[in-house]
């Protein structure tokens, strides 16, 4: 019990420091200080989590942290300054993937949840998976691995029906008492495909705005996962990033003199114009 109180108190402090860090990052004078504070908070949060009561698989956990952290740290260190935006995209996608992974574990374990939690579980899984695959496409485009904006025929309808199918399967799986392995697999396959299909038609010049939007999405997904696993630090950090990310996306679109709707839906109106 004592250790639980200690862990929760530490998470509270971490959440406060994250908000202060973001606040500091919003001003040129204190921006550098902001990221360093947030960095200490993150290390603190990670260390403290090991003291959560009843934790298994600690060895595997340490291995995953060392590998994931090491690979990302090294790649972030050596990358050229001009290639930064795609690195932000890929790290963001990884966060989304982690959020989707948490949802996948919850589904495979088949822990019963109440209605609201099940809905948030499905939503977080969809948003996280979309952010993951969407960010991978954004990375591929900026890295020059994928040079053409690929537009499907009837992109509009594909987007619509894929979204519908993803949400349908997702909610069915989340509300099921013991979802089968195939349904869970199908759900994540659909959600990942949705991310690819949504980002694929968007041109490279608009990518920073799209990455910012996906970043906000990941924030929301993380916040929803916070509700599902009952961790307020995740809720606060996730939702704060979700809200500030949405605002930031609008500001970036405005700075480019392009309404956000045009960026995300231009391919659709373009396709419609061709058709009509």
């Amino acid at each position: 019990m004592t250790s639980n109180w200690f862990v929760n108190m530490a998470y509270f402090v971490v959440a406060v420091v994250f908000i202060l860090g973001l606040k500091a990052m919003a001003s040129p004078v204190s921006a550098r200080r902001g990221i360093v504070w947030a960095g200490f908070a993150m290390v603190g949060a990670t260390v403290v989590t090991f003291f959560t009561p009843g934790l298994h698989n600690v060895g595997l956990m340490v291995l995953a942290i060392v590998l994931g952290g090491g690979v990302a740290w090294y790649s972030g260190k050596i990358v050229k300054m001009t290639d930064m935006p795609q690195m932000v995209a890929i790290y963001n996608g990884m966060g989304g993937g982690a959020a989707a992974g948490i949802a996948a574990i919850e589904l495979v374990r088949g822990v019963p949840h109440d209605g609201v939690t099940s809905t948030l579980l499905a939503l977080g899984a969809i948003i996280g998976a979309v952010a993951f695959s969407g960010s991978c496409v954004a990375f591929a485009k900026l890295q020059g691995l994928m040079t053409k904006a690929i537009r499907l025929r009837a992109q509009n309808n594909v987007n619509f029906f894929l979204t519908l199918a993803t949400f349908g399967v997702g909610l069915t799986v989340a509300y099921a008492d013991a979802p089968g392995g195939f349904e869970i697999f199908l759900f994540f396959a659909l959600a990942l495909a949705l991310g690819v299909v949504l980002v694929m038609p968007i041109g490279g010049a608009d990518m920073p705005v799209v990455i910012s939007l996906l970043n906000a999405f990941t924030g929301l997904a993380v916040g929803f996962k916070g509700f599902v696993i009952g961790n307020p630090a995740l809720i606060v950090a996730g939702i704060v990033v979700g809200a500030s990310g949405m605002l930031l996306t609008q500001l970036m679109a405005k700075a480019m003199n392009r309404p956000i709707r045009n960026i995300i839906f231009t391919p659709l109106t373009g396709a419609a114009a061709e058709g009509g």
Partner: protein, 101 residues
């Protein structure tokens, strides 16, 4: 957690996020995006808890959990180093070159 408490936390956090960056200069847009990307790397602790509660006998759960922790750690570490480099460059550029660049 009580549903309404969660709803209130959600609402307050959303306003906080909005307020925190409402007056940000254009030059900080990209670093701030990167910074908030780092902050949602806190998903790492969620992934750790999920892996920690996974059934040690079930390889599927362990594999998903391992991937989730790996991705979460990469999000946090990569987000930090990229943001730190961006902000570091911008400060050094302003000071040393005296606006020459």
């Amino acid at each position: 957690m009580d549903g309404f408490t969660a709803l209130y936390i959600f609402m307050l956090a959303a306003f906080t996020g909005y307020e925190v960056i409402s007056r940000v200069p254009v030059i900080l847009h990209t670093p701030l995006m990167s910074g908030s990307n780092f902050v949602h790397g806190v998903v790492l602790i969620g992934a750790m808890v999920a892996l920690g509660h996974a059934d040690p006998e079930d390889p599927v759960q362990l594999a998903i959990g391992f991937v989730a922790v790996f991705l979460g750690a990469a999000n946090a570490a990569g987000g930090y180093i990229v943001t730190e480099r961006m902000l570091g460059m911008f400060k050094a550029g302003g000071r040393k070159q005296g606006g020459a660049q």
